[in-house]
Every structure is written in C-alpha cells, then in structure tokens.
C-alpha cells in the first residue's frame, strides 16, 4: 500500500488528537490543559481537511465549512476557558484545579 498524501495528514491528525489528550489528562497547569484542548481540536480539523483534500476533482467544500465552524467554536472555547482559568487563579491563588473541592460552600 502506498501512503497517499491525504492519509499522512489524516494520521497526523490522529496523532495530534492523541498528544492533546495525553496532555489534557496528565498535565495539571490549567494553561497547559487549555492548550492541550487546542491541540486536540487541531488534530480533528487536520483530519477533516485531509479528507476534504482526498476528493476529486476539487477539494470537498463541506468538511472545509465544518472546520471553519469548528475553529470559531474552538476560539470561543479558548476565550471562555482562559477567562475562567483567570477566575480560578484569582479565587484560589493557583492556576491548577484543587484535588478535593466538592464540599466548599
């Protein structure tokens, strides 16, 4: 089997998704977690662009539209997450999630 260019990009998308997921679970600093989510998202977008690129005679516009929607949602998510992380820092003094914080009134 020859490695089609689109497949290379699609597999790279899977790889980015996995790297992001690892960092999201394993890292504690909130900025890193937010960046990890962005890396995961980029993986999905790369995968979508790769499958659009696969199409003949022109690139499929529908996954491109989906990526555009996805990017906008991801920008909003990052903005909201950063604002929330900032609040976490101002209320707890640290940029990490405390281990046990269920019972705090």
């Amino acid at each position: 089997m020859t490695l089609e260019p689109y497949l290379l990009y699609a597999l790279a998308g899977v790889g980015l998704f996995a790297i992001g997921l690892y960092a999201l679970i394993a890292r504690t600093h909130l900025l890193r977690k937010i960046l990890a989510l962005n890396v995961m998202g980029t993986g999905v977008f790369l995968f979508l662009v790769a499958i659009a690129y696969r199409s003949e005679p022109v690139a499929d516009p529908v996954p491109q539209a989906m990526v555009l929607t996805g990017i906008v949602v991801s920008v909003c998510a990052t903005g909201l997450a950063l604002a929330l992380a900032h609040r976490v820092q101002t209320t707890t003094g640290r940029m990490v999630l405390p281990e046990n914080d269920e019972s705090g009134a």
Binding site: A18, I25, H29, R54, P61, P63, Q64, L68, V72
Partner: protein, 244 residues
C-alpha cells in the same frame, strides 16, 4: 514541585502517567488503523455542492457551504460567538486600560501605517469571499487584529466605554442573520431558504453584519472581561463593588 503559577509543569513519568500514555497510544493505534481503512478516493459532497453552486448565490463553494447549504450551522455558530462574550463578561470585569504601559512611539507609528491597510484588507476579504477564499470570519479576524493593536497601544478607551453601542454591535451579526433567516419565510420559503434572485445580496448582508460582530467578539475575548460602563459604575456605586 514547581512554582505554583509558573508555566513550568511537573513532567516526570510517574506510573500513572505511563498508564495514561499507554491508553492514549492504544487509542491512537486503533484510530490510525481505522483511518487506514478509509476508502482511498471519495468525492464526499463535492460533486453535489458544485452542481448546486449556481443556485447558491455565490461562486465560492466553501462560502456556499458555510452560508447557504449549512447556513443553519453558521447561524448557531454566530450565537456561540455572542454566548462566549456573554459568558466571559459574566465571569469578570476587564482589566482597566490604565494597567497597560503607555504605548511606545514605534508601535504608534507602526500602527499609523498598518491600521488603514488592515481595515482595507478586512473589507477586501469580506467582498472576495463570494468567489474566492475569504469571507466574514477571515475579515473579522483581521478587523479584530486592528482592535487588539488599539488595545495594546492603550488607544481603545472609546470602544470599550460605550457599553450600549458595544452590546448593539456585538448582537448585530446574530440579529441580522435571524432576521434574514426568518424574513425569507414570509415569502413562503423555509428557514434560511433565500430566494434565488437575492441570495447573493442577502449573504453579503449577513456577512457584513457578522464581520462587525465577529471582530468585536474576538477583541472582547482578548480584552477578557466586561467594560466598566456607565450602567455598571452606577450600579456599583449603589450596590458596593462588583462581586470579586
């Protein structure tokens, strides 16, 4: 452990992290295997999308997909943008502009050259979106860059201090989009079913309104909190300080 708020993070490979890594690698392997079994060529919806292009009111298939075929997705996406600003504003008040350093003369003269060009480019991207890559999101991102530069040079007090106008401009894109989407139903069509003859004009109308809202939204996310407006300051004096 490292300093509590430094960007540095503990990166040692503990047993727990090893397990997470194995789990993630398994997931990536399984997904990779699945991706390799994808059909080698598939035109997806490209053929259908091109065949309907002449009915979509624009010549760029991606713009047709974003604002016509899947316009309903985009409608809710504009709502997500507005929602993100409301969410951020509900969390915190913006840092007062005075917290920034006075702008350097280099930045100011750079901006004098670059800002008019950026505004021009934003308009150009909006206009060209109907037949080539471009559109409201791309133009809006460039326009947001203008606002971010103004912010960095501490020149944007006028924008963030008029909260009534700010709110109006933020909701403009979604309001026009909803008005058009529902308005075309008056002629007997479905939601977002533009009349063929006016599709191009209606899409440009939606995009122009969205451009302003997108630019302001992105800049508002950058600023990161609601502005201290007249209404806020009056309620703050009535009620004591805002919740911290």
């Amino acid at each position: 452990m490292n300093a509590p708020d430094g960007i540095t993070d503990d990166t040692r490979l503990t047993p727990l992290r090893l397990i997470i890594m194995l789990f993630v690698l398994t997931l990536a392997g399984a997904l990779g295997w699945a991706v390799c079994s994808l059909p080698e060529y598939s035109s997806g919806l490209a053929v259908t999308a091109l065949a309907e292009l002449s009915n979509s009111g624009v010549l760029n298939p991606v713009t047709a997909a974003v604002l016509n075929y899947r316009g309903y997705d985009t409608l809710l996406e504009i709502a997500v943008l507005l929602l993100a600003v409301i969410g951020v504003w509900s969390l915190a008040q913006a840092e007062p502009p005075a917290a920034f350093e006075p702008a350097s003369p280099v930045l100011l003269s750079f901006m004098r050259i670059v800002l008019p060009l950026m505004i021009l480019i934003a308009g150009y991207l909006l206009w060209i979106g109907s037949f080539a890559p471009g559109g409201a999101f791309q133009g809006g991102a460039v326009l947001a860059g203008v606002l971010v530069l103004l912010r960095l040079s501490n020149q944007d007090f006028a924008i963030w201090s008029h909260e009534v106008w700010l709110r109006f401009c933020l909701v403009l894109g979604l309001s026009v989009f909803i008005a058009v989407a529902v308005g075309v139903m008056a002629g007997g069509g479905k939601l977002l079913e533009y009349p063929r003859a006016h599709a191009g004009m209606l899409i440009l109308l939606i995009e122009s309104a969205a451009l302003i809202s997108i630019a302001l939204t992105l800049a508002a996310l950058f600023v990161g909190g609601r502005a201290l407006s007249d209404e806020d300051s009056s309620s703050a004096s009535e009620n004591g300080v805002q919740p911290k």
